[in-house]
């Protein structure tokens, strides 16, 4: 297992290298001269030449790439044009909000999708199966950002029961410690802030998780359906085990491999879904930061975020691979 992980980790390095090359080439392909964009239209030729030399833009492209790689590897992602701060600092400030949103979204998704999927798979073609399948199909077909807008319209606009945007009500949260509102508020014993954070995160988390619920429910259903006919399930029943115990202990644990695979895959979708859902709900995470970066043409910020997102995605896939061995002892690397 240990050697497998090390081997996978080493195998990831060339992929990361190629990703950085792809991102670098994309920046190079961007139309317009970056120096002109920074200095403004009325910069003189001497200004431009001086700026190019200062930023190393007059050097051959492969040297620029090596420099880019070198600073990225040391965690230096450059300085954001818009915020005037190191990109890594800006990202660090916003990252907890995104992690918090994604975590709650996954929890809601799993709590909803897995029981529905197990019930639907255990009783195929029953009313619960039909309900679950329809629900799943709707979840897959509904764009998360539109669901978000509709939730705002209904729950914030008409019924006024949930706040429509942001992460907390001004003045409720205590001083920032970790940046995770739930964690900070619980540690400070500020229960009002916990409730406030919960009401704020609920709608974005549902919108973000809807797609995952749809897919996860469908996969759980078919995985359970497949396992239900295995001999060990028949044996478990023949032993006289209660149906619920057969279902949750024997069927679900054996159906877990495809479920974990899909959760892993969906984490990637969740990462990119967060970009758009954060924009809808003005959620101050790295997703809305990316869009701010894109609209203000803040190339260092966008590059940094794209690299961070990709590294996170690659790491998640690695962890999921490692999880397989834990779930299924038959898998040995």
């Amino acid at each position: 297992m240990g050697t497998y992980l090390v081997r996978r980790l080493i195998g990831t390095l060339p992929v990361l290298l190629l990703i950085s090359l792809l991102v670098f080439l994309l920046i190079q392909a961007a139309p317009g001269d970056p120096t002109l964009m920074l200095l403004g239209e009325d910069a003189t030729a001497a200004d431009i030449a001086e700026a190019k030399q200062r930023w190393g833009l007059d050097q051959p492209i492969y040297i620029q790439y090596v420099k880019f790689l070198n600073s990225a590897a040391t965690g230096n992602l450059g300085k954001s044009f818009r915020f005037g701060l190191p990109v890594i600092e800006v990202i660090k400030e916003r990252l907890p909000a995104t992690i918090e949103l994604a975590t709650i979204s996954i929890i809601i998704g799993i709590l909803l999708a897995i029981p529905l999927g197990v019930w639907a798979g255990a009783k195929p073609n029953s009313w619960i199966d039909n309900l679950g399948t329809t629900f799943g199909l709707f979840g897959i077909s509904m764009p998360s950002f539109w669901l978000g807008i509709m939730l705002i319209l209904l729950l914030a606009g008409f019924l006024h029961i949930l706040p429509s945007a942001g992460r907390s009500t001004y003045g409720v949260a205590g001083p920032r410690e970790t940046g995770f509102y739930f964690l900070d508020s619980i540690r400070q014993g500020n229960w009002l802030a916990v409730k406030d954070a919960f009401t704020h995160v609920l709608m974005p988390a549902i919108a973000l998780g809807s797609n995952m619920v749809g897919i996860l429910m469908r996969v759980t259903r078919s995985a359970v359906l497949e396992v239900m006919n295995e001999e060990y399930v028949v044996t478990a029943r023949a032993k006289g085990l209660a149906e619920q115990r057969v279902l949750w202990r024997h069927v679900l644990t054996n159906a877990l491999i495809p479920i974990v695979t899909v959760v892993g895959l969906e984490l990637g979708t969740l990462l990119s879904g967060s970009i758009i859902v954060e924009t809808v709900f003005a959620w101050p995470g790295i997703g809305s930061l990316l869009i701010t970066g894109v609209t203000s043409r803040d190339h260092p910020l966008v590059t940094g975020l794209v690299m961070i997102y990709t590294v996170a995605f690659v790491t998640i896939n690695l962890i999921i691979d490692a999880l397989y061995a834990l779930i299924d002892p038959r898998i040995r690397y």
């Binding site: 060339p14 992929v15 990361l16 190629l18 990703i19 792809l22 991102v23 994309l26 920046i27 392909a29 961007a30 139309p31 199909l137 709707f138 897959i140 077909s141 509904m142 764009p143 950002f145 539109w146 807008i149 509709m150 705002i152 319209l153 606009g157 429509s164 897919i215 469908r218 996969v219 259903r221 078919s222 995985a223 497949e226 495809p258 990637g268 979708t269 990462l271 990119s272 879904g273 970009i275 758009i276 924009t279 809808v280 990316l290 869009i291 970066g293 894109v294 609209t295 190339h299 966008v302 794209v306 997102y309 990709t310 996170a312 995605f313 690659v314």
Partner: protein, 297 residues
Amino acid sequence: MPSLTLESAISRPLQLPWLRPLLTAKVLAGGTIVLTLVVVGVFAPVLAPYDPNAQQLRAMVQPPQWFGGDHFLGTDNLGRDILSRILYGARVSLLIALAVVVISGFVGVSLGAISGYFGRKVDFSIQKLVEVVWAFPPLLLAIAIMAFLGQGLFNLILALVAQRWIQYCRVVRGQTLSLRNRDFVTATQALGASDSRIIWRHIIPNIIQTSLVIGTFAMASAIISEASLSFLGLGVPPEIPTWGTMLADARIYISTAWWLALFPGLCIFLTVLGINLLGDALRDLLDPRLKRTGSGL
């Protein structure tokens, strides 16, 4: 085999057995939705009551007038007719999605077949490319491409194709690997057929069914991605009406004008639902193996 003839003579009242699976509820519902959209898209100039970009500043933000009014689904913040914009939007969304699916299908199937057929170095380099492009979270690569290359129809299609060919490539590669050593391929090789002839005439016809299923789901995801990018302001130029840009415009007026956000989103939802239903049915029909594992999404 007499028993089979007997059985089919007795137990099959419908004389066209291939037609039966086509007549399920899924196909009917999905087919109706998709067909309506295609008709609406094609005949948008005839069906639309107004020019989708015509601004009537005296009739701004008017709610839907269901019966007898000038604007059936209301107007937006610039007094543009929502119904007309939705009809034209269908055209744009469907055309972009279709172009994306066809191009990514062509690229993915070709690369997958080449990768699986030739193996070795060719396979290694194509699979490395797959691995790299696949390492980006979905939509992020598209956003990065639009961010750096700028708005425009060509860049949008490029951004949407960038990751969408991979699914075809992976599946087709796997199937080609198993087809490569089958007798009919060996026989064709022995007859002296060139590699490209074997790939195009003998391998691809055998894998086209699965690709069709992937293509249907890719169409649904392309529509959502296009709407997402347009919503973020990274899609087609603003003068072209699409459902995504309509939703983006609607955001500011969400508390005052619900109809701006409801109808375009409903169209995206119904379209994707229709295509997914058709995709499900097509998968059950063409490739029952995929149904069991639940993949293909």
